[in-house]
């Protein structure tokens, strides 16, 4: 299925939930926050958040800034 991940269109075949996607990308750490169609997903809900074609996903984390 096609998803938009951090602004890029991507074809995803082997992830069913947001948790799967995070683990596949090595982003399964407490400092990474996931947003699913503009809704922030709590860590406990990552594995129950199912992916659907056309979903918009953002993965963000803290960086240096003033």
């Amino acid at each position: 299925m096609k998803l938009k991940i951090n602004g890029k269109d991507e074809e995803i075949t082997d992830a069913k939930t947001l948790g799967d996607l995070l683990r596949q990308r090595g982003l399964n750490r407490p400092t990474v926050v996931a947003e699913h169609n503009s809704v922030i997903i709590a860590r406990a809900a990552l594995d129950s958040t199912e992916l659907k074609p056309g979903d918009i996903i953002e993965f963000v984390s803290l960086v240096g800034g003033g």
Binding site: N6, T31, V32, E35, V60, L62, V63, G64, G65, G66
Partner: protein, 255 residues
Amino acid sequence: MTDELKIGGREIKNRFFLGTGKFSGNEALEKAITGCDIDVVTVALRRVDDRPGAENILDFIPKSCVLLPNTSGARNADEAVRIARLAKASGCGNWIKIEVVSDNRYLLPDNRETIKATEILSREGFVVLPYMLPDLYAARDLVSAGAAAVMPLGSPIGSNRGLRTAELVRILVSEMTVPVIVDAGIGKPSDAAQAMEMGCSAVLVNTAIAIAQNPQDMARAFDMAIKAGRLGYLSGIESPVGTGRASSPLTGFLR
């Protein structure tokens, strides 16, 4: 003498707030923080860097620091609110520096949108520190909206032009019931001392330190300037006068 600065119920010992952008590396940042016992550091939120070996900035910031995430990148109140909620979800506490900028040339903050975002986020329990243009009416609205402090700019972000807004900031210092923290444009230690001598509660510095040839020493220079400025303010700086006044006794034995 106790000289407490309390924001959002938390006592802040060091009035020198450090921005963490533009450092050449995280080690340089860490040295600047630990070399001055910084209490408050700002951070930003960005799309995750998923390249192998990407560092986590939080590994270089002591756990005792208050993290003050900013909403940089937000062009209106809604975007600022969205970034603030994401920052909170990333586990860095409930402080937020609201920064709403839609002007790309001067990077000036939009006070009206900032007031809107302050109102929403204070109601949600954030400790809100809004970055603002130093306007008395906007500052009052920010305080009514729940701001824990106001952060007027000295001059445009990253410009190193110093405290060009001094006269307006002075008015905020005399009228505000919350701390006034100068943010942006502070280019050299004497600029920071000037802000503190005027009675500002703290100064936030980033670019001038991050891009210095020696960031660690520059941070120490700012730390000393901020402490010196504060002590000068507390000691009672006299108003200038227009004539000379002798500082030595003029006893007249030379007749």
